[in-house]
């Protein structure tokens, strides 16, 4: 990589211009910005939120649906306000079609709220800005049930006229299919009736924060990647940057059974931190482009205080140190992968990814029953999920709990989209599969199992509609891979391994049945373990696994102190919807895994 003289000069100017500025300082910002008026996004475009009005529209729609023949109907209204702040690409560029060539001589990036409209016509973000994109989505959705069939209708219009139209339309859609199709048996069962429920997530509403305070905090957050880029080893041209997302959702629910609630949830999360660090090739180092989601600890379903109280300096140092650790492979040595069977130690984030992709997704009952066969896929617990209940599907070390109750986790709510109170429930006990994720309709499918085991035939509150524009489907709750009794951590697991490989984090790629997968270590590096010690980096190493064997081969899990949270997401359904959850896992050791070179062709 050669540096152009111009880029070098700009780089020096940047360094000179910023060296006297203390980090996380708001002084610079104050000097260069006129006093802002106290305009809250909330005041301006959030005028719709009036939960009483929302409820009255919901009831109107239910009346219309039942009048049109629905024997059950439920309604959601959602008001979702979000602001995604993305910094421009903060870096030093060598002429890139003239668009990103000019790094601002002021050095410190500035903030605009709102994006920028480039003169060329495209909406773009200039290198020195962080742009917030406000987005308001309101939705009104009605689901109606007629003789075993579901109909749905939604729109962004909150009016009496549309309430009636949507209610009738949903019932008509259901009736059309009840008439055309064969009989379809559905039992929704009974659930506790929530009436006039109200829940507001504790914390500071991110859209009720004075603009000055918000800008101050954003400004200091924006300095984080700059700090990364100030280091002499940053890669010129690598678009560093970071993002912050603020989200608030007000959701009102009502059903023809008389249930009703309103709940408000927040998420405030720094989203991404990326830097490029240049490796010294002669010393055997490689470049590292480090792009990481913000650690999910603290959990992101919080109010503004989560952003305000971040220990930013500590955070950036931790993240930079992680990136550098990946780069300094010279100290570790590099080894080509020797294909074969190894014992694998998965760090807590790695284990969490495997929990989600091979157990979380697989225990979605709709997938196992084939309801997602034409969409996100099936499950290795299909086509008859009942036959796996009560059987050993994992080693006795594996205990998996699902919940929608963990404070500040993203899948947490007070009630689900059928009005069922959210709860925690075990899925795997000592390696035995004991349950699946369910909605009201799905709980009935497990009636025999529940009755036999003295469990209530009742939904686990996993019905979720992404917004009221979407029809509820079963979505993942949060998961916990329970800690073992012994107080051991990942170092103990490594110490106890003779010939193995250590994966700190990475990503699982699985087939549509979640049956087989490949675990790759990106962006971290896989390390050889020899006689209890970490050895050289195994470039390109991946784990080729069968989900069933992987979990049966777990020989040890970490103790409670070694648990960590990660964030996971999924897309399922037709039309597709996105869901999010948090997974808490402990490190684990799995024997006899196949290590392969993931970049090699056959």
């Amino acid at each position: 990589m050669t540096l152009s003289r111009r880029a070098l000069l700009q780089y020096s100017a940047l360094a000179a211009g910023t060296q006297f500025l203390p980090f996380s300082s708001t002084r610079y910002w104050r000097q260069h910005q006129s006093r802002t008026t106290d305009v809250l996004l909330d005041d301006i475009i959030a005028g719709h939120i009036d939960t009483e009005l929302m409820l009255s529209l919901a009831r109107r729609a239910i009346e219309a649906a039942t009048a049109a023949g629905a024997t059950y109907a439920d309604v959601r209204l959602t008001h979702t306000l979000s602001e995604a702040y993305t910094s421009g690409n903060i870096g030093v560029y060598e002429g890139d079609l003239g668009r990103r060539s000019d790094f601002p001589d002021r050095g410190v990036p500035r903030i605009t709220i709102g994006g920028t409209v480039t003169p060329g016509g495209g909406v773009g973000v200039r290198p020195q800005d962080i742009a917030g994109i406000p987005n308001l989505v309101i939705g009104f959705g009605v689901r109606a049930f007629v003789r075993g069939y579901w109909g749905f209708a939604s729109s962004p219009y909150w009016s009496d006229a549309d309430a009636v139209r949507l209610g009738q339309d949903a019932a008509t859609q259901a009736a059309d299919n009840a008439r055309a199709g064969q009989p379809r048996a559905v039992d929704l069962g009974k659930i506790p009736l929530v009436q006039h429920g109200q829940w507001i997530q504790p914390g500071i509403d991110p859209f009720a924060v004075p603009v000055d305070e918000k800008l101050d905090v954003l400004q200091s957050l924006l300095e984080l990647p700059v700090q990364g880029h100030r280091s002499a080893d940053s890669i010129l041209g690598f678009p560093g940057g970071m993002s912050l997302s603020l989200w608030r959702e007000t959701r009102v629910f009502a059903s023809s059974e008389g249930a009703s609630y309103s709940q408000v949830r927040y998420q405030c999360q720094p989203g991404l931190f990326q830097v490029g660090l240049r490796g010294d090739l002669e010393r055997g180092e490689r470049d590292v482009t480090w792009s990481t989601s913000w650690p999910a600890d603290p959990l992101p379903a919080r109010g503004w205080e989560a952003v305000r109280d971040l220990d930013q300096d500590h955070m950036v140092e931790t993240l930079l140190a992680r990136a550098r650790a990946e780069r300094n492979t010279v100290d570790l040595g590099i080894k080509p992968v020797e294909i074969g069977k190894y014992d694998i130690v998965f760090g807590a984030p790695a284990a969490a990814g495997l929990v989600y992709y091979t157990l979380g997704v697989a225990t979605e009952l709709d997938r196992a029953m084939g309801y997602e066969a034409n969409a996100s896929g099936t499950s290795y617990f299909g086509p008859d999920p009942m036959q796996y209940l009560g059987t050993a599907i994992a080693s006795p070390h594996v205990n998996l709990t699902a919940d929608r109750t963990t404070s500040h986790a993203v899948a947490t709510a007070k009630w689900d989209d059928e009005g069922m109170p959210c709860s925690a429930f075990p899925l795997i006990k000592n390696g035995i599969l004991v349950d699946y994720q369910t909605t009201r309709e799905q709980a009935h499918w497990l009636e025999d199992w529940y009755t036999k085991n003295g469990m209530p035939v009742q939904s686990h509150a996993c019905a979720v509609a992404e917004t009221a524009l979407d029809c509820p489907i079963q979505m993942s709750p949060n998961f916990t891979l329970e800690p073992g009794a012994e107080a051991i951590d990942v170092n103990d697991l490594i110490r106890d391994t003779e010939r193995g490989v250590y994966f700190s984090s990475g990503r699982a790629q699985v087939d549509q049945q979640v049956k087989n997968g490949m675990y790759r270590s990106e962006p971290s590096i896989p390390r050889e373990i020899r006689n209890g010690k970490l050895g050289p980096v195994l470039i390109g190493a991946g784990v080729l696994f069968s989900s069933q064997e992987l979990w049966k081969n777990v020989v040890a899990v970490g103790g409670a102190a070694s648990a960590q949270y990660t964030g996971q997401g999924e897309t399922k359904g037709e039309p597709s919807q996105s869901g999010q959850c948090n997974v808490r896992a402990v490190p684990m050791k799995v024997k006899d895994c196949a290590i392969v070179d993931t970049t090699r062709k056959a």
């Binding site: 006129s34 008026t37 209708a153 962004p156 009016s159 086509p383 790629q509």
Partner: protein
């Protein structure tokens, strides 16, 4: 705050906003803008009608309306935007007020200025993308159509799941500073079906999307999926390795469409991550280099009767006919108008919509002929869960699914267990033996005409016994 305003009736349209209604709304928004500068609007008004089924029964049928309105407001070349899906006057007034207040809080100057001339009317093409037959397929007719495809699967003792959906969209871009008032109505129908046997040892799939519902033969697609299910049951394992491989059009699309995402002069990746750029020299590309088999061409034309797509992007810049690869040579990378003007390439950019037609010159071969001329090879229905491992080479990894067969001595000899593959589309498109007739594949929201291909040395890296 005027909460009472919320109840005021908003104009609702059960399908899409017609142009007159949209123009009236746009005019209302423009009059709300104070203090000069430019206001630009993007508006998509959508209707989706869908029917979903599984285990041979409809699981839900529905209608969804939505609008996406993006308001961009600039003053003295500072600007910002926001997106909302509600269009009542109170919300719009408030949104505009928010934009204007936040612009004036933060003054920035642009480092480069680009004076844009307006586009001319004849810069735009006018493909027919709206089909009344698509829009007419609401809940009742869909319920009938779905029964027609569930019955054959159920009668054969198989289990089907699928999705039939129609969308109608009005796409509008308004930029008064350029005298631009674009509106395009478009429809799309999509159908896909998965048929599995009750034991879960066989699976078949078929699917397609077209602007015009009447071009979708759901009976034929159902027959294909059912046949694939029945003939893929109880697969046997064969060794992973390199095989002569017959890729059906959907498999070719799954493998190759990633190429379209990189046909750009500029992007958010480091240049060294571009397959079509030369890492060592800035802005040097591989244009002029032979990158694919000399028989292959990749092109896109909004007027292509089998391809048709909205003829402009979200900035209102027109899509023109483009040849990206000719006789295997990379001929163009996409660029915006700004680049065209700067480089003296005219007044209009060459944009990439992502839609494409991949075709061969010379004789075409049917899949049956490909099978008949194969001594030993593998027939692939489709891939999924594809992940790009390496951007410069576009090396991908993923899985086969919904029907995989071994071909021996010119005949399909048996169904085989699925594979994980590790292969680059650039490698495969350089190792082509036979080329089929392009046909539409399943890529909702986009359009592609792709042929079946017989390629040499396709790399299957591991068994994956999922069905």
């Amino acid at each position: 705050m005027q909460r009472s305003d919320v109840r005021r009736e908003s104009p609702t349209f059960t399908q899409v906003w017609p142009q007159e209604a949209w123009q009236a709304l746009a005019t209302r928004i423009f009059t709300m803008a104070k203090g000069g500068g430019e206001t630009r609007l993007n508006f998509n008004s959508d209707w989706l009608g869908f029917t979903r089924w599984a285990r041979n029964r409809v699981s839900v049928s529905g209608d969804r309306n939505n609008n996406t309105l993006t308001i961009g407001r600039s003053l003295n070349s500072d600007g910002q935007y926001l997106t909302l899906n509600t269009v009542d006057d109170a919300a719009l007034q408030q949104a505009m007020q928010y934009l204007e207040q936040t612009i004036t809080q933060h003054r920035h100057e642009y480092l480069t200025h680009f004076q844009e001339p307006p586009f001319q009317a004849d810069d735009y093409l006018h493909p027919t993308l709206w089909f009344d037959k698509t829009v007419a397929l609401d809940g009742g007719p869909r319920a009938q159509a779905v029964q027609q495809v569930i019955s054959p699967a159920e009668q054969a003792g198989m289990v089907s799941a699928g999705y039939l959906a129609v969308t109608a969209t009005g796409v509008a871009v308004d930029r008064p500073a350029l005298d631009m008032e674009l509106y395009y109505p478009t429809t799309e129908a999509q159908f896909s079906i998965t048929v599995r046997n009750p034991q879960g040892t066989g699976s078949g799939w078929a699917g397609v999307n077209w602007n015009d519902w009447s071009r979708i033969d759901i009976a034929q697609l159902t027959t294909t999926a059912l046949h694939k299910c029945l003939t893929s049951r109880n697969p046997v394992a064969v060794e992973p390795g390199r095989y002569t491989t017959l890729l059906e059009p959907q498999a070719v699309y799954d493998l190759t469409h990633v190429i379209m995402g990189f046909l750009s002069w500029d992007g958010n990746f480091r240049r060294r991550d571009f397959p079509f750029h030369d890492e060592s020299v800035p802005i040097r590309t591989k244009i002029g280099q032979q990158l694919l088999d000399t028989r292959l061409m990749i092109r896109a034309d909004p007027m292509d009767p089998d391809l048709g797509f909205v003829p402009f992007d979200s900035n209102g810049e027109p899509y023109r006919p483009a040849v990206w690869f000719d006789k295997g040579v990379l001929t163009h990378l996409s660029y915006e108008r700004r680049f065209a003007v700067q480089q003296g390439l005219g007044n209009v950019g060459l944009l990439n919509s992502g839609c494409f037609r991949l075709e061969g010159s010379g004789p075409t071969t049917t899949v049956d002929e490909m099978i008949a001329t194969t001594k030993r090879g593998i027939l692939v229905t489709r891939f999924n869960q594809i992940k790009v491992l390496d951007f410069p080479s576009l090396l991908e990894s993923g899985y086969t699914r919904d029907g995989l067969w071994l071909i021996e001595n010119g005949k399909i000899s048996k169904p085989i267990k699925n594979f994980q593959f590790t292969e680059s589309p650039l490698f495969s498109l350089n190792n082509v033996e036979q080329i089929g007739v392009p046909q539409r594949v399943f890529c909702p929201g986009s359009a592609a005409m792709v042929p079946a291909l017989k390629v040499r040395d396709f790399s299957f890296t591991a068994l994956s016994d999922a069905v």
